[in-house]
Each structure stands twice: as C-alpha cells, then as structure tokens.
C-alpha cells in the first residue's frame, strides 16, 4: 500500500482537548503530517501555540514531538527525505507558502537545541552574529547594546561581562545553553522553540534555564520539548502529549497533570510507560 493510499484510508485522529484553546493564538497548525521517505512520523497534528505562554510537548522517545517542533521553523527542510503536509500558520500566514523566505521565518521563530552549540567564536560574536546577518544594528554601539541586553535577558551578562571576547566554547554547559538562548533572542524572534534544552545540563544549570524560560514568557511565545514531566509542569502553561506520532491530548498544564482525559496520557504521566 502506498503512502497516499494509506493516507486516504486511515481514520482521522481526533485530539482530546482538555480545556479551551489559547486566547491569543500565535501559531496555528492543522493536519500536520510529516514523512521521512515512506515512513510517516506525524499524523494530523492540530495544535495552537498561544502567545506569550509556554507550551510543553511531552511524550515518549520517538513520538514525534521534536519532529513537530522542527516543522515550526522549517528546520526539517534541511533533511532531504523529509516531507511536511498540512497547514502551519504564524500570525495567520502560511509558513510553507512559496512566498515565505525561510531565512526570515527562522529569524521570527528562533530555536535552541538539545546540546549547547555555541559557534567557535567569542561570546560577543556568538550573540552578535544573528543581528549582523539580519542587519538589525545600525552602528557598532547599537550592536553592543543588542548583545548586552540579550545577554542580560538570558541572565548571563553578570557572569561573562568581563570576558565577552573569550571563546563561547570555553563556558560551562549551562552557561553555553544560556548563551545559545541569548543568541536566539538577539534577533528579536516572536517564537522560541526549545528542543530539550536542559537534557545535557546538571540540575542547577537546569533550574537557571527554567527560571529564564519563565521570565522570557513575558515577551515571547515559547514551545519546549521535554522529557521531564516535572519540567513541563514547572515551566509550561499548556501541555501537549504526543504518542506514536499522534497528538493524543492537549490542554492546561495543571489540568493535564491532575486530571488527564485520555487513558494513555494518564499512563504516561503516572510513569506506567515511556
């Protein structure tokens, strides 16, 4: 059976909505399917990302939550065999439309990765790179202002203010991850995607990053993939539970963790599988 036939015959999955949709929708996704070659990784995901709130994506490994996240700024484009169907809108604009410039999109939807990946440049240049290539700074002092304010927002400035011109790779893991967050916010995005940002960090660094996420919520819409349900409960306002490429349940974080509607959600958050 070909992929297309499978698509037609398959029953459409209905996501359980526990609670109302977010009031202000930043990103609106409908029927998102992702294929890696002939293999389908995501099935009809309908999910709305609220403005200025943290949406956590949870689920067991291989459930498609990272794949979904990478659809939101078209990072999947870099994988040759990957194909995305469905509708993904940022502020009502289809981001997969031919008129959309992917470079511009990624400036609006920033990303922080699982492993801290600072550039092999100085701390200053790491943060300044984005503003430079997007022409955000009119002058040298403008650029310095952007770098300093981004580092301050990322809660890193006090730790590195005296060594801005030393390599970013010389920082500790937690500092590197916050540097990556500073780098992402330096281009002034609207949405920040975080792919398990704390999985390579120790608990203290994790706590700092979580604190930072909570602060960033004031200005940005954040989508975070996490394996830690405690983390999801701590930092997010909405939680989406993925299982086997299906968005099983989505709703208020408090409600999801206290009163999940779907049996599988309940099993997962109580630790019965995954």
């Amino acid at each position: 059976m070909s992929v297309a036939e499978a698509e037609k015959t398959r029953e459409r999955w209905q996501t359980v909505m526990s609670g109302p949709a977010p009031e202000h929708i930043k990103m609106h996704t409908r029927d998102v399917c992702v294929f890696y070659g002939a293999k389908q990784a995501l099935f009809d995901v309908d999910l709305d990302i609220g403005e200025r709130e943290v949406t956590a994506l949870i689920g067991p490994s291989g459930c498609g939550k990272s794949t979904y996240l990478r659809c939101l700024n078209r990072m999947n484009d870099t994988i040759d065999i990957c194909r995305v169907t469905g509708k993904i809108e940022l502020e009502g604009e289809d981001i997969y439309a031919p008129s959309i410039d992917v470079v511009e999109l990624r400036a609006r939807v920033g990303m922080v990765f699982q492993k801290p990946n600072p550039f092999a440049k100085s701390i200053f240049d790491n943060v300044a790179y984005g503003p430079r290539i997007h022409g955000l700074a009119g002058s040298k002092s403008d650029l310095e202002d952007i770098v300093v304010s981004s580092l301050k927002k990322a809660g890193l400035y006090n730790e590195v203010s005296d060594r801005l011109h030393e390599p970013g790779t010389g920082l500790s893991g937690g500092q590197q991850q916050r540097l990556c967050i500073a780098r992402a916010i330096a281009v002034n995005p609207e949405v920040i995607l975080m792919d398990e940002p704390c999985s390579a960090l120790d608990p203290i660094a994790t706590a700092k990053v979580e604190e930072l996420i909570d602060e960033l919520r004031e200005n940005y819409s954040i989508v975070i993939v996490t394996h830690s349900m405690q983390q999801a409960a701590r930092v997010s306002q909405r939680t989406a539970f993925f299982h086997l490429g299906i968005l099983v349940e989505v709703g208020d974080t408090d409600r999801m963790f206290t009163n999940p509607q779907d049996q599988r959600t309940q099993d997962y958050i109580t630790g019965r599988f995954g």
């Binding site: 700024n73 990072m75 870099t78 040759d80 470079v103 511009e104 999109l105 990624r106 400036a107 920033g110 990303m111 922080v112 990765f113 492993k115 990946n117 600072p118 550039f119 092999a120 440049k121 790179y129 984005g130 290539i133 997007h134 390599p167 790779t169 990556c180 780098r183 992402a184 330096a186 281009v187």
Partner: protein
Amino acid sequence: MTEISASAPVGTDNDATRPKRRDIGIKRRYAAENRFRALGIGAVSIAVLALVFLLISILSNGLSAFRQTFVAFDVTLDAAVLDKAGNRDPAEMAKVTTIGYGNLLKKALAADLEARGVSTEGISSKEIAGLLSKEAPAQLRNRVLADPGLVGQTISFKTYATGRIDGYYKGRVTMESAALDSNVSPEQLTLADRMRGAGMLTVGFNTGFLFGPDASELRPEAAGLGIAILGSAYMMILVLVMSLPLGIAASIYLEEFAPQNRFTDLIEVNINNLAAVPSIVFGLLGLAIFINFAGLPQSAPVVGALVLTLMTLPTIIIATRAALKAVPPSIREAALGIGASKMQAIFHHVLPLAMPGILTGTIIGLAQALGETAPLLLIGMVAFVRDFPAAPPEGFFDPAAALPVQVYNWTQRADPAFVERASGAIIVLLVFLFLMNLIAIVLRRQFERRW
C-alpha cells in the same frame, strides 16, 4: 535478582554465593597487549631507522654539492684577439667564438702560474688548461660581450675547476684513480695542490649550484638548479592557485549542496578512483589535451601545473570533504536556526572550522605534486634548458625544468660528479618540502587559535 541479593549477607565476602567465574585468561590478555605494544615499537623503530638512513645517505652524498673548487687568475684581454676591428662593437666581437677565448685562457693561466712562481714542470700546456672547466671560455666571453670596455685590460678571472679536480678535493678522485683516468692525470692533481698552496685554487660555497642553469654532461662543475627551482616554484604557485579554489568549491558542493543520488555517488567513486590513477597517465592526458589540443608550449610550467593540478585535486577534495564532514552538524543547525542562509552557515561557521583539515590536505597534495616526475617527463619538462624563464606571468609559458626531473636527469648522466649534484638537488627538494610543511603548520595554528 532481588531475592538473591537479599539472601546474601551484606558486607561479607562469601564466595559460595557468587556465580562462578569462567577463566577468561587475564594473563593471556595482558601478554597479548604487551606483545602488541612491542610490535608497535618495532614498527616505529624500523620507520625511524629507514628515515635516518635515508637522510644520512642523502646528506653525505649531497652536501658536497654546495661546495665547489674555483680557480682564480689574471687574464689579459688581448684586443688583437678579441676585437680585431678595434671598434668595440659587440656584434663584431661576437664573431670570436669560445675557441678563441679558450686559447686566451690557456695562455693566461700558464703566464699567471709562471708569474706566481708555481712550477709546471713535466705538465703539458694542454693539461694545465685541462684544470679549467669547459664552461670557463663561455663565462669569459659572456663577461666581455656584456662589457666591451674590458678589452685591452687585465682582469682577475674566477672560474670553476673541472669536475675531476673538484672531486679530488671532495675525496671522489685519488692519485690512484687519476692514474687510470683519461680525463685527469696525477700530475694535474699535484699541480692543483701547488696552485692551492699559491692561493690560486680555492674551495668555497657554490652559489652557481643554487642559482645557475643546468650544464651539459661534460661540465658537471657548472650544473646548477636555478631553472629547476624557479620552474618548481612557478608550478607550485600555479597549482595552489588553481587547485585550492577548485577543490574547495567542488568539496563544498558535493558535501553540502549536492542531492544524494546515483549521479553524485558516481562522481564520488570516480574522484576516489582518480586519486589512485598512476601519475604518468596524467602526463599522457596533459600531452594530449594541453599541448596537442590546446596548443600550449612544451616544457612550460603552466602545462606542468595544469597536469599537477589534475593530480592534486582528488587529494584536496577528499581531504576537504573529510574536514567538512568532521564539523559537527550542530554548528550548521545553530547557524540555520538563527536565520543564516545555507551559504552563510557554511562560509561563516563550517569552513573556518574545517580550515585546518583543508590546509593539511592541500599541503599533502602540493607536496605530492612537488615531488612528481613522471607526468612532467611526458610534457617535455625533461628538456635541457639553459635560459631562465622570464618573470611571471610571461615566465609561466617559458620553458623551464623542475626539481624532481632535474634529479632524474642528473642520475642518468655518466660523470660521477653528477651523483653529488643529484643528491644535492634532493636536499634542495627536501628543504622545499620542509618549508611547505612549516607554512602549513603555522597556518593551521593560526586557524586553530580562532577556535
């Protein structure tokens, strides 16, 4: 499992409760490790020994090429011989051939020996003149034609002693061997000793070896590497300029942009195969395409460089691709994630990180090209070239030699004096390689310091 651990008393070492261990031969494992280590040390020692032997043999043979025996004496430039018309017209004076100058030198040397009180008893005047290099008349003639005002004056003239006399002072020729040699007699050697005592014969640094052109089979003392060094340098510059951008561009395209399909697989296999093609095949290709088809001149550094570029490209492409592949994908993702285009990600972040690897590959490729002989033979760089190529860019199209071809050339010549010349040329070649590696190391440090 929980039951077993619960029943075992905590804190006591009870063998009975532990599962029996199979004998896995710890001693044998350590012995194997030690054997392997000894093997490794042996292999390294053999390699080091081979290198030491190579260096010793080349240095002991070749270092003497940098020293040379010179003869200095006064020559009166007789106007009656050199300028019969008497008007100092170089065109007129050029009618006097080296034979005329040779006779002049013969007389001048004999006269100077007498003037200095060096006894020439029992030695024919032909034998006395035989001490001088066959290059001497030509040297004097060039000097006079360049400055006709010298005619009529007495000048001090310094020229090479012939290869046999030179060999006498380097231990290659002895009294016994001279007695059997038709080219030199023991009497000549004793005369040379007397001349040395009188200060007419000196041994000094041989600048002609490094800067002079090649000389014919009969005058090894005058053979120099100047044109070969220049030709090799021209070729290396051209190879670098052509192969580095081409190689990097091809690698970046294949590694970062090319779609993964059968066609790119085919290209990849062929590039790898190209690296294994015997170099003489590239010479044939160069002869067919660059000389016969494109009509480029023979023996020209530009043709040599084109052929060597073709040869070097696979090495550079393979090394560059490996270097690009070694850059962690997270760096690309990081750049793409903040909105860099693919090209920005590659040129701002991936390429600088890959640069040390690319440079190493390039230098390895260039070193190979520098030492390559076979393809150059086929495109005519084996020719005997006496005229220096011009300055670039015109010089790239002038006939020139190359260092390894010069070595090959000299090892084929009969006169034993060329053995030392060939070894000396190898030393120069090795110095070239050493300098290139040094540059590579310095550049690599420079790039690595940028993290």
